[in-house]
Structures are given as structure tokens and as C-alpha cells.
Symmetry: C2
Subunit: 192 residues, 2 copies
Amino acid sequence: MRDTRPYHHGDLRRTLLAAAAEAITESGPAALSLRDLARRAGVSHAAPAHHFGDKAGLLTALAAEGFGLLADELDRTRAAGGGVLEAGVGYVRFAVGHRAHFSVMFQPELLNRTDPGLGAAQDRASDALRAAVASVQEPQRRGADTRIAGLSAWSIVHGFATLWVSGALPDDLGSDPEAAARQVIRPLFAPG
Amino acid sequence: MRDTRPYHHGDLRRTLLAAAAEAITESGPAALSLRDLARRAGVSHAAPAHHFGDKAGLLTALAAEGFGLLADELDRTRAAGGGVLEAGVGYVRFAVGHRAHFSVMFQPELLNRTDPGLGAAQDRASDALRAAVASVQEPQRRGADTRIAGLSAWSIVHGFATLWVSGALPDDLGSDPEAAARQVIRPLFAPG
DNA sequence: CTCCAATCTTGTCGGTGTCAAGTTAGCAGC
DNA sequence: GCTGCTAACTTGACACCGACAAGATTGGAG
């Protein structure tokens, strides 16, 4: 599919990204080791640097992939006819289902902020977010413009997702993140 | 003030925590180096390990300090007669004013989750949060019990704070985090 | 004055990120 | 079919880091 095809290994770049996601899901981005990834993939310790230049480069690629996956998720709920609330649930579904990507996407000090691929992926996700918010035709409360409403929605959803994956939320919320998210974020979208 | 007083250095434990906060504010927790902290404090490279045992131990102490500072902030706004909204603004004020603490408090893979000091500090902050939410006497919307309402408030405030410190929010929000927070979180507390 | 325990130092080990230089392998052009 | 080119990967090295063990220093209790 890609115009640049793998030569020796097969698909080292993709393999490394997948291994990184797995490792980060287990122990977080801080514990990630390029040499360990290389070992898992069966290549030399310096092979990763060739594809990503840098540890930050690898994490940047992972973050960009994450923003793409998030945009996909939002587009999907939109295509399914879901409103803002369902988009929010989709946001949470993404965060929980792609913990590694999510945990890297909003830690800019781990990334190459100037990477063009990252910027493009962020823009795609931003557009998808904006589209989800704009899909609410009727202004649900007086004077609140859609820009602030969008930031409110993003905040509550992002906050819930962050708290959930960090394990900070009380246990009595149950083990289904989507159901819990629906309960918690509904108050913002369905005022009395 | 403390019963365990410093011997040789002066107040190495406190000095290291302050240096750590500064370093993390500059470049994030991942880039933190115990040896660099030791250099800044003018002690040997192994000195930090004596006080915190571990890198995770140092970050745990910092996180515990953070939960204490957050509880202080919430108690302060409560004492000043502020309601839930002002407590939320206080939460954001804390996150922005103590970036380093905040960025460590919700990354459990960096911490010793079983540390008793951390647990105690978390409990204090939890109580302060609960108190801030409970201070709203009138249920502002039908059927929404205060437990869910509290989680909603926590989510939107935590989400906004996280997005703000990560620089993910659009620039046109201005440079005053508290004013922006008031705008963004108000929709949850003041429904039409 | 003695002794103890907390504080801090010195030395060392395996592991890691990164750079430089060399090696391999696919492919294009003659 | 051979040559040369370039991307993919390896090998080797260096400085840095976290952690551990053992020793030195110091303040204070008895």
C-alpha cells in the first residue's frame, strides 16, 4: 500500500509502532526503551533510530497515529447518526481502547512539536471534533456560542477519559467506561 | 517545624523536591534525572536515593505534596465563600500554578501506588472535592444525584486543566487560564 | 566522652539513547 | 548480467543514568 516498501525486515516501522503501543499500555511512556523494542522485533539496537530518528520521533509517530484513530472514531459515530453525546462516548472509547496512543497525544514534552505529520493529524482530529459539536443545530442554551460549548464538551469528555485511564475514579462506577461516561457527561448536554 | 531535622546539608529533602518541581516544569517528568537534581543541590549523585529510595519515591513525594496543595486550594476557595464554580476555578489555578505537581499526580505508573503518604494526601483532596460539591444545597437539576454531579464537575475541570497545561487549547482563548476556565466550565453549573 | 544512627560520599554495575561508520540488499540503468 | 546507488540495517563506541553496596562524616543522646 505504501510507496516506500520494506527491504530487509518486512515492516519494521509498523512492527515497532505496534510494539511501542503494547509496551506503553503495560508500563507507560516513561518506561519505554528503544532497545527493548528492537529486541522484541528481533533487530539491532540502533534500528529504531533509523526509522524515527529519535525516541521523541517514535512517540511523535505514535501520537500522530493516535490523532488519526481518534478522528476515525469521531467520524464513525457521526456517520452512525450519533450526536454530541455519542461523540463524547466515542472519545472515551478511543482513550480506553488505545491507552498508549492517548497517553502520548497530550504530553507535548515527549514529542517533536514541529513534526508536520503530527500537525496534520491534529488538524484532522480538530475538524472531526468541531464537526461533532456543530452537528447540534439548536443552541441548547441562550448566549452560549458554539465555540465555548465545544470547549466545554471537549473538557468534560477529555477529563473523564483521563481520570478513567489513570484509575483515579471511584470503583463504584463499574467497569464499563462507556456507560459511566454517558452518565457523567450527560448533565452538560441535557440540562434540566 | 518538622521533627526530623536535616543534618549535613540543611534541608536536602525539601531542596530536592523544589528542584524536581522546577525541572519538571521545564521539561516534564520523563526528562527528570536524579543525578541532575543532586548536581543542582550540590550533593553527591546518590544522595537523593537516600531520602526517596527511588526515582518513583521522589515523584510519589511530589505527588503527595501536590494533593496536599490542591486540598489547600480547595479549602481556601471554600473558606472564601465560593461555590462549585469557584472551586473549579481553584482547581485550574492549582494545575497551572503547580504544573509539575499536577503532571505527576495523575500518572500512577510513575508512582509507588501503595505509599501511605500518597494515599493520605489523596484522601484529603478527595474530601475537599466532595465538600466543594456538597456545598451546593439545591439540586440544580432533577434526578441527578450529587455523586454523578460531582464526577461531572471533576471531569470538566480536570479536562480543562489538562488541556490547558498541555497547550492543546486554541490560542484565541487568551492567556488568563482562570477567566477562560470560568467561561468553559460555567455551562455545566448554570444551565439555562 | 562514647556510641549510635541518620546523612551523605565513593565506587561500581548493567542498561539506555545517540552518534558514526560500516555492511547488506533490492533495484535501476547500461 | 554487471555496476552503482540508495535505503535498510548492524556494529561499535561514548556519555549518561538509576540502583546498589560499602565506607566516611556528623549531630546528638546517654
